[in-house]
Every structure is written in structure tokens, then in C-alpha cells.
């Protein structure tokens, strides 16, 4: 577990995580619930805003770093996980949170998604999955259901959607969960666990788009979601059980922690380079010792 830096003076308040400006999402957007849950999770864990970097790509939900008070990076479409990997390796003492949408993460960023999971980079990735492209005014996304009519597929989607949970499980993510922005308490718990997980933590959050997705609405999810935590026999350490539950989709849709394993080292823990000088690379000496550089030159003689 990463060491949680203590605030300078006294206890942090929820207000310490409020961003400079208010979100400009559509009224009723699912992303509001995700933002407030993330603020609450950080507050409850008492992680100082300056020790957190919130990194996003592009899209409605990717505007989130501008609305929260932590260090933030609003990067390129689909590239947040690559940027986040660089940040984490340059300063592995930081808490890294990545946020973004389904198009950003599973479409244009799909390659980075897979590789960041297999590398087990220590970060929390919250995908705000609304099954639609919102900022570009309503096109089919990689998670849009088959048959869904959008501006880009006016006669209905003929392609199968991605299942982010089975994808994450098969790509080697060490923490895989699903939340719903209509269940904020449950979501806060998942985020806290994800923040404390030492490795790649993935939470796919149903975050309904009230403007462009008229299929997967709040009421649609409300009557379907079932918490895995309500089943006392569910064992999140069993990958096969997780995979089986991840395939459930219909009248009942499971949310909660599907899977977690704690026995694998994260990427930063696997790299001896990060142990040198006992501090993050970002604060290491730039100049090499004369002994080392002499060796480098002697190799060439």
C-alpha cells in the first residue's frame, strides 16, 4: 500500500478537493456522481491534493481534472494511460488517478488500456462508461449495445460491443470492478479500494448520458444492477468466478468488485532503478558518478 502523505495542518475537508470551476456537464449527467465520489474517496482516505495527479484524455468525462483540486493533466484523446505510466514511474510516490470515457479508453486508447493492465502500473483508472460519444454529439461507441441507433449508425449498430470487465480480466488487471454513478456510496467504497490497491485498479462506471443515450438511462440501470457485495458467497480472489460473473448482462447486471489479486508486484515495484537513492526519479541527482562514466567510456576502448 502506498504511504498516504499527511496534510500540512490538520484534517483535510471535502471542500479541499473542490476544483476551481464548476463542471460544465449537462444537468443530470452521470459524471457528476463520479466526480463527487472521487472527491469523497480521496477525502475519506485523507490523501493530500498535492500528492494526487488526476489524468484524463479527451471527451465530456475527460474534463474532470479541471473540476477537482489535485494536480491534473488533461491530455490527448486516448493517451491518458500512457501519460499516467510516465508520471507514475518518474515519481512513484504520487497517487495517480486516470479518468475518461468509453470512447477514449476502449476505442482510440484501446492499445494503451491493454498494455497498461498487463504491466500492472499502480494507478486507479475510472472509466465513465456512457456507451455513447457525447462531446461529438452522439455517435456509436465501443460499448454501445448492438442495435442501438445513433447519428453514425442511424439504422442500428451491427457490431458487438466490448465488455470492459472481461477485457480487463483477460489482460491481467489486478483489480477489476464496476460501479454505477446512481449508487454513489457503493462507488466511493470501490474507489477507496482501488486507490489502496497496489497495482492497476480498473473501475468501469455506468455514467448515463442524459442527452444522447436514451437506451441506457438511470431507470434502465436502476432496475438491473445487483451488487456482488450483497452475495456473501462471492469470492473476488477467484478469477474464473469473476470471468463468469463478468459475462452476465441482461435483466440482472452485476456491479461491485469482480476481482482482486495482491500477490503481483506493480511495475514500479519491479524496477530496481526506482530504489536508487531512496527517492523518486524526479528528485534524483542528474549527474552520474565519475566512476560510472569512466566505465561507460572504457567499454569503447
Amino acid at each position: 500500500m502506498p504511504t498516504i502523505a499527511q496534510p500540512d495542518s490538520g484534517k483535510l475537508t471535502l471542500n479541499d478537493f473542490k476544483g476551481k470551476i464548476d463542471p460544465d456537464w449537462c444537468p443530470g449527467c452521470g459524471d457528476f456522481g463520479v466526480l463527487s465520489s472521487l472527491e469523497k474517496a480521496l477525502f475519506e482516505l485523507q490523501i493530500s491534493p498535492y500528492d494526487v495527479v488526476t489524468i484524463s484524455g479527451i471527451g465530456c468525462s475527460s474534463n474532470l481534472p479541471g473540476f477537482i483540486h489535485t494536480y491534473g493533466m488533461h491530455t490527448l484523446h486516448g493517451r491518458a494511460l500512457a501519460v499516467a505510466t510516465g508520471v507514475k514511474l518518474a515519481n512513484h510516490k504520487l497517487h495517480v488517478v486516470v479518468t475518461g470515457g468509453d470512447g477514449d479508453g476502449f476505442g482510440i486508447g484501446g492499445n494503451h488500456f491493454i498494455h497498461t493492465m498487463r504491466r500492472n502500473v499502480d494507478l486507479l483508472y475510472v472509466a465513465m462508461d456512457n456507451q455513447i460519444y457525447g462531446l461529438t454529439t452522439g455517435q456509436t461507441s465501443p460499448t454501445s449495445r448492438k442495435g442501438m441507433k445513433t447519428k453514425s449508425m442511424p439504422f442500428g449498430n451491427v457490431e458487438e460491443p466490448i465488455n470492459p470487465i472481461t477485457l480487463a480480466l483477460s489482460a491481467g488487471a489486478t483489480f477489476v470492478a464496476r460501479g454505477f454513478s446512481g449508487e454513489p456510496k457503493h462507488l466511493v467504497e470501490l474507489m477507496k479500494q482501488g486507490l489502496e490497491h497496489r497495482g492497476f485498479a480498473f473501475i468501469d462506471v455506468f455514467s448515463p448520458c442524459v442527452t444522447y443515450n436514451h437506451d441506457n438511462t438511470y431507470p434502465w440501470f436502476k432496475e438491473r444492477v445487483r451488487k456482488l457485495e450483497d452475495d456473501s458467497h462471492y469470492d473476488p480472489s477467484d478469477w474464473h468466478v469473476a470471468m463468469k460473473h463478468a459475462l452476465l448482462w441482461g435483466d440482472e447486471i452485476p456491479i461491485g468488485k469482480f476481482f482482486e489479486r495482491k500477490d503481483l508486484p506493480s511495475l514500479d515495484q519491479s524496477e530496481p532503478v526506482l530504489d536508487q537513492e531512496g527517492r523518486p526519479l524526479a528528485h534524483c541527482q542528474l549527474q552520474l558518478s565519475a566512476e560510472v562514466t569512466r566505465e561507460f567510456i572504457e567499454e569503447l576502448m
Partner: protein
Amino acid sequence: MNRTFAVSIGGAAGQGVATPGDIFAQIFARRGLHVNAYNAYQSIIRGGHTLLTIRTGLGEVTNFGDRIDLLIPLNQDTIDRHLHLMHPGSTVVYNGDTIKPKDRSEGVQLSALPVNELSKGSRSKVEQNTLALAASLSMMGVGFQPLEEVLTQQFKKKGDAVVAENLRIARAGYDYATANFKPFADPLPMTEARYAVLSGNVALAMGGAAAGVKFYCAYPMSPSTGVLHWMAAHARKAGIMVRQVEDEIGVINMAIGAAHAGVRAMCATSGGGFALMTEGLGMSAMIETPVVVIDVQRAGPSTGVPTKTEQGDLWQMLGAGFGDFPKIIAAPTDILDCFKLVPEMHNLADRFQCPAIILSDLLLSEGRASVDPKDLDFNVEIDRGELITSADSANGQNGYKRYKITESGISPRAIPGVPGYVHTVATDEHDEDGVLISDEYTNPHKRRAMMEKRQRKIAGISAAVLPPKLLGRPGADVTLVGWGSTKGVIREATEILNSQGVTTNQLQIRSLVPLHGDAITEILKTAGKRTIIVENNYSGQFARYLRSETSYVPDGYIRKYDGEPFMPHHIVQSVQEQLAGKTKLSVPVHEIMV
């Protein structure tokens, strides 16, 4: 002029061309001689044709030269390709059991080694290579001992028996040559100097280590992969985090992420990978996080000829990334310059918080040269610019503005983790605070102010980079203008032309952005009667760039785009034909079929 001696070893990939090449280079450099080596090879792991040329001399050897003094063909194909190009006084050393010379070259010594007889009882698969190597050294007047030292060092990991076996074969080849072949007229000289031999890629990587790079990532792509290999092999000793990433898009974004968190970050690729990086380059400029990218050019377009050289990516670099933003581009002019340029570019990128591009090419990156080890000085100046890494730094808490509008255009940069400087950076246009002015709060006045703030950095960059200088005296018959890797071969061409009575000087461009167009046109006003721009591409990319920046039009052009680098005589003959009024555009033919 510098007297030199060139050895070429040719064969199929997998026949072991590299090892004897390395041994020659090592023996020459330890003898206090300079070395320049170029390997003409193909994108094939086994088979095909590879020709490695190592040229040595007392003075600096800046290119692989015009002629081969000693050819070691390891197969019939090699002797068939090259024998007719050998000059009188040169020698060919080969396996007489398997290779039959078809052409007869006047005055060329054909030195056939009875390989089966000399290596009787050997289990070595490359005995012909060792025999030829030893025979060659005998003819060059090099004693047996330097070879004994190198072979012992080379094979000691495999045990005494292997060392003894190799030495026995080497001795047999050496003695056979001493008894049967005519030695070269001038034995190879020896000096007290000792040189390091390295490739441009190793020099670039070591330059990164000297600059204090702590994060290096890449996707393998010829001819840039050598940088990754050095970095990976030395990562733990140098304390550098080295990652192989899923693609070049990931590479540049990861490097920028690391740089944003406070380290010096670098990555290298070739043209195709660079194309994938260009969106990231714009992010570096927009969020004002420095990153240094190396592009090692190869013959394009598209996959092109992956193992061949070209200076064809200049316009890609100039146009890389959409929108207007400041960036820095420089092309190292020789292998030592690869080492020196990297820390300079990191200093500029850090000071001006923008992307910097190093434009190498296969000729430099995979070529090798000797350098004085003293010149590989790791004690370089490190200037990280206005960087806030701890809460004690000036600038105070609260009210910190990441994109504060300043006269220089540079705003103090705080790294994540520092209390009191919490801020968000964005690739969207933003105000001084970092708040987006792209969505709800669009504002043409703020947009203009931010655009001007970033662009003001260009004046600072121009002042920080030195303009080029004329090499040689002004008022010459001919001025040859080149950029980047062609410095050495153009220099040798000017020496040859001067010795022929055509006074020639040289202007070699290293900094491409900023270009210092006014300084260049000022120099060219008095430099010479005729200016000729020499470049390794089809369309005259540099000539077109210079014209677009300055309206300057030269008197002639020399271009080569067959994948192989210029040889000195290509430039000399092109100048001669232009002086004779035959053409204004010379495209020399590469005679060697590689």
C-alpha cells in the same frame, strides 16, 4: 591530405562480418589511429549482402572514403560485386577453396588462403574469417600480438580451449600471409594516442546519460534501436528508467508524462514512428512540458528502405504537429556531435518548456568513429530552467499561475507533489491559471495572449543558439552548403577540390530551427562565387527550406537518394561538372552495388 587505409569485409548476413570488423576497429584505435566505419546492409537476418568498410588514418577520418585498399570477401557474391572496383596496389584476401575470382583487375593482389589446409582439425565455423583477419594484419605490417590480445579477450568467456583454437588458426593465417603474400607498401603507422570507438546511436544514448535523462522509452525501429539497446543495457548503472512501449504514440505520451512529473525524458525513433508521435509533440508544446525526441532518418517514404540512409525527414520535422507552436530542431554533424548535442537540446527544451527534436540519420547513428575519450565529457552544463521542485522555492504559495504571462513567454513550472502549487495542465487552450478557454469560457483576447506568450519563446531560443560559421576562407570559387551528417564527407571533398586548384569552403548547418536565416545569407554573400547545396534527398528539402525562410537561391545542387551516403568523389565530380557548366543539379551514381 590525411593518408588513410580502408578495409572492407563483405558477405551474407549471418556469416560473421561484424566480428572481424570490430576487431579491426579495435586494433586500429588501440594503435592510436582514427577510425570511421560504415556498414552497408540489408533488412535480412540471414543471407543477402553486407559490406562493412573500416577506414583508418593518422588524422581524423570523417567518412568511409572513396576506395577499398583491402577486400575480404566471405563469399563468391562479394568478390563478384566488388573486385572490378578495386584499384592497383590493393589486395583481396579470400578462401581459395570456395571462392574463385572471375574478373581480373590490373595490379590487384589476389591472396587466396588454403583454408581447409590451414584450419585442419578446427571445429570453428568461422575459421575463414579468422584466417583472413590474421593474414590481413600481417600484410598491413601489424604484429601478431595485438590480434592475440583481442582474440583472447573476445573468447576468454568460452574457455581456454576455444582461445587456444582461435589463436592457432590466427597464427596459421598470419604466418601463411607473411610467407606467401606481398605486404602493403606502407605498414600501418602507430601513435601514442588511444581512442574510443562508438556509433552515433551509442553517442546519442551516452549524451542522454550525460544530460541527466532519467526516463527513456522507445518502440524498436531501425535505425534508431541502438539508442534503446545502450539505454537498456546501462539503465541500472546510470539510474535510468527504460521502457519498451507498445507503440510510438505510447512512447511520446509516456515520455511527456515522465517529464511532466519532473525528470528529463527522451525517446528515439525513425520517420514512421515519428509520424505517430506528432500529436504528442503538440501536447508538449501546449502544456509546456519539455521532451526531447530523436528521429534517426532512413530512406522513405513509408517503410522505405529500412537499412539505408537519407536526409528525407526535414519537412516532416518542420511540419510536425498541427497548429503553431515553438519547437527546436537540430541535426548533429558527426558522431561526437551526437554526444554533445543531446545535453544542449535538453537544456533548451527545459529552459523554453517545449519539444526539441534531434535529427540524426542512419549514416551517423549506425556508423562508427573514433573519438578522443576526453571529448566524451559527462560533466556538461545542466540548465533546467524555471523549475519548481519543492515548496521552499520562490514564487510563493497560493495564486500560483502555471501559465503566467511573462515577457519571455516562460512561466515557472511546478512539478506534481509540491504543496501550494496544485494546478491542472490541459491540451485545450487555457488561461494563465490553466482553466480551459476552449469550452464554456472561450475568449479571443485570452486566446491571443496565450498564443503570443508561447510564441515569444522563439526569440529567446534564437538568442540561445549560435548561428553557423563558414569553414574555410571567404571568397572561394565554390561554397558547399550541407546540413547534419554530411559534414565529414563534404569536408573531405573541399580538401580534394582545394588540392586540385578549385578553392572551396563549407557551410554546415546544425541548428535547423532556429535557422538564423539572416546570418546564413550574410555569410553566403561573401563566401564564394558559386554556392552548391549538398543533401541526401530527392527534392532538396534543405534548399527549399532555406529559400522559404530567406528567399535565397543557390547556384547548384548535389543530391543523392539511392539509400547510400555520399562518397567524397561523388561531390568532387559533381562540383567539376557544375563548374564546366554541364548542369545545376548533380545526382551522383553510387558505383558500389550494396
